[in-house]
Subunit: 226 residues, 2 copies
DNA sequence: CGCAATTCTGAAGATTTCCTGAAGAATAGG
DNA sequence: CCTATTCTTCAGGAAATCTTCAGAATTGCG
C-alpha cells in the first residue's frame, strides 16, 4: 500500500517511515503543508492513505485536508496531533479526516489504525467506462460514443447513464436514481425518470448490443452487460 | 442512515439513541451480545454502521465483531469502551473494528466519528446467498441464478424466496411470509402465497437439487438444504 | 378405506407498473 | 425579449404482475 506521510518533525517522520516500510508499505514524504498538498493532488490515484500532522509549516493539516476534499479526492486521512482536546479532535474529523491520533502514541496503535483505514475497500472511480463492446462513456468530458461515433446526450440523460454505468449489473432503485441524478427526494415520484430512460434507449440501445438497459419491475433499472 | 446500537447500559443507550435520531439516523437497539449478533446478521444489508459496547452480556463485543467479520460482513463498527489502555484499543481494531471511542466521551466527538465512518464509501459486499449447489441469489441485484443462468422472478416471487433463503432450514409460518412479503396482515388468508410458491417451484426447483422448497403442513414452508 | 382438512394448479379477471407521444414549463444564450 | 434546448407533466394504452376462484390432488387421521 502507498502511504503519504506529511510531518515536519524529521525524527518522528524517520521512525514512522521505518515502521511502515517494515509492514510492507511504500512511503512518500512531505515535510510541510504546501508540498504535501502538491504530492497528494498529483499522486491521489496511487495513494491508499495519508498520514498527516495537524500543525505544519505554510499550510496546516486541517486546511490541507479540507482543500483536498473539496476537490473530491477521497483518500483516507489519519491525523496526528499533540492537540488532544475533544473540540480539536472533532474539528479534525469534521475537516474530512478519518481518524485522529494523539501524540504521543504507541507504534502498535498507529499500525492498528493504519490497518483499519487500509482494510476498507476503496471507491476509485475510473474515468472511462465501457458498456458492452461499443458504448464508451467518459465522465471527464461528459461524452458518450456508440460504435466510435459520438452521441449527444442531454445533461440529465448523461447523469442517469453515468449512474447506471457505475453500478452496472446492479439493480438501481428508482429512489437511488431520483436522489442521485435529480434534486428530488428519495421517495418522491416522477415520471420524468421514465421519459429519460426512454430517450436513452432510443439514442443508445435501439439495436442489439452486448449491453441493455433493463427495467426491473417494481424496483428500478439495471444496466446489464455480458 | 441505519445504525445498530449494542449497549447494555440502558441509560447511555437511550441518550445515544436520542442524539442519533436527532441527526436523522434510524436506530435499532440490542442490549446484549447474542441479540446484537442476530440483528446484525439478519439486517446486515440495511445497516450502515454498528456502534457496540465492548463488554456485553453473553457475548462480548470483540468476539461478536470477529464472528461477523468471518461471515464476510463488512458493516463499519465503532467500539465504545471504558477500557482505554493502548493494548485494549489495539485489540479492538484488530478484531475488525473501525474505530474505538473511550468512555466517557462527548456526544460531539461521537457524532463526528459516526460521520467519519458513514462518509466513506460503503463496502460493496456482493451479498450472495447460496441455496444448495446451484442456486444463487443476490439481494443487491434482485437476481437469481440457477446453474449459472439467470432466472427471472417477479418482485413477489423474489421477496418470498429471499425471505425463505435468509431463514433456510427453518420453517417459516404462513403468517411470517404474509407479513414480510405482502402488505397483508399476519392472520389474513390468501391463496396468493401458494400460487407464488408454485411458480417458484416451477422456475427453480423442478429438478432434483441439494435444496428443496418443502411445505410444512399446517404451518408454512421451509427452504431445506443439505 | 373413507373423510376432512389442507395444499396445489390452471386460468381468468383485477390491479399495478411502465411506456410513449405530445404539450406545457423552465432554463440558458443571444 | 426571443429562441432553442431541455426538463417535467399528463393521459392513454400496453404489459407485467398479483389475486381470486374452483376443481383436483394430497395428506393425516380415525
Amino acid at each position: 500500500m502507498n502511504i503519504l506521510l506529511i510531518e515536519d518533525n524529521r525524527t518522528l517522520a524517520k521512525s514512522l517511515e521505518r515502521v511502515l516500510k517494515q509492514e510492507g508499505h511504500t512511503v512518500e514524504y512531505a515535510w510541510n503543508g504546501t508540498d504535501g498538498l502538491h504530492l497528494w493532488r498529483t499522486r491521489a490515484d496511487h495513494l491508499d492513505l495519508v498520514i498527516s500532522d495537524v500543525m505544519l509549516p505554510y499550510l496546516d493539516g486541517l486546511s490541507l485536508c479540507k482543500t483536498i476534499r473539496e476537490e473530491n479526492i477521497q483518500t483516507p486521512v489519519l491525523f496526528l496531533s499533540a492537540l488532544g482536546e475533544t473540540h480539536q479532535r472533532v474539528e479534525g474529523l469534521r475537516s474530512g479526516g478519518d481518524d485522529y491520533l494523539i501524540k504521543p502514541f504507541s507504534m502498535d496503535e498507529l499500525l492498528a489504525r493504519v490497518d483499519a483505514l487500509l482494510r476498507r475497500p476503496r471507491a476509485r472511480v475510473p474515468d472511462l467506462l465501457a458498456l458492452g463492446t461499443d458504448i464508451t462513456l467518459s465522465l471527464e468530458n461528459n461524452s458518450v460514443t456508440l460504435a466510435g461515433k459520438e452521441v449527444l446526450l442531454t445533461p440529465m440523460e448523461f447523469r442517469i447513464l453515468a449512474y447506471l454505468a457505475q453500478h452496472k449489473n446492479m439493480t438501481c432503485t428508482r429512489g437511488q436514481l431520483l436522489e442521485n441524478c435529480f434534486e428530488h427526494s428519495k421517495d418522491q415520484w416522477s415520471n420524468s425518470l421514465e421519459v429519460h430512460i426512454k430517450n436513452l434507449r432510443r439514442k443508445l440501445f435501439s439495436k442489439q448490443h452486448a449491453c441493455s438497459l433493463q427495467t426491473v419491475r417494481g424496483i428500478g433499472y439495471k444496466m446489464a452487460t455480458e
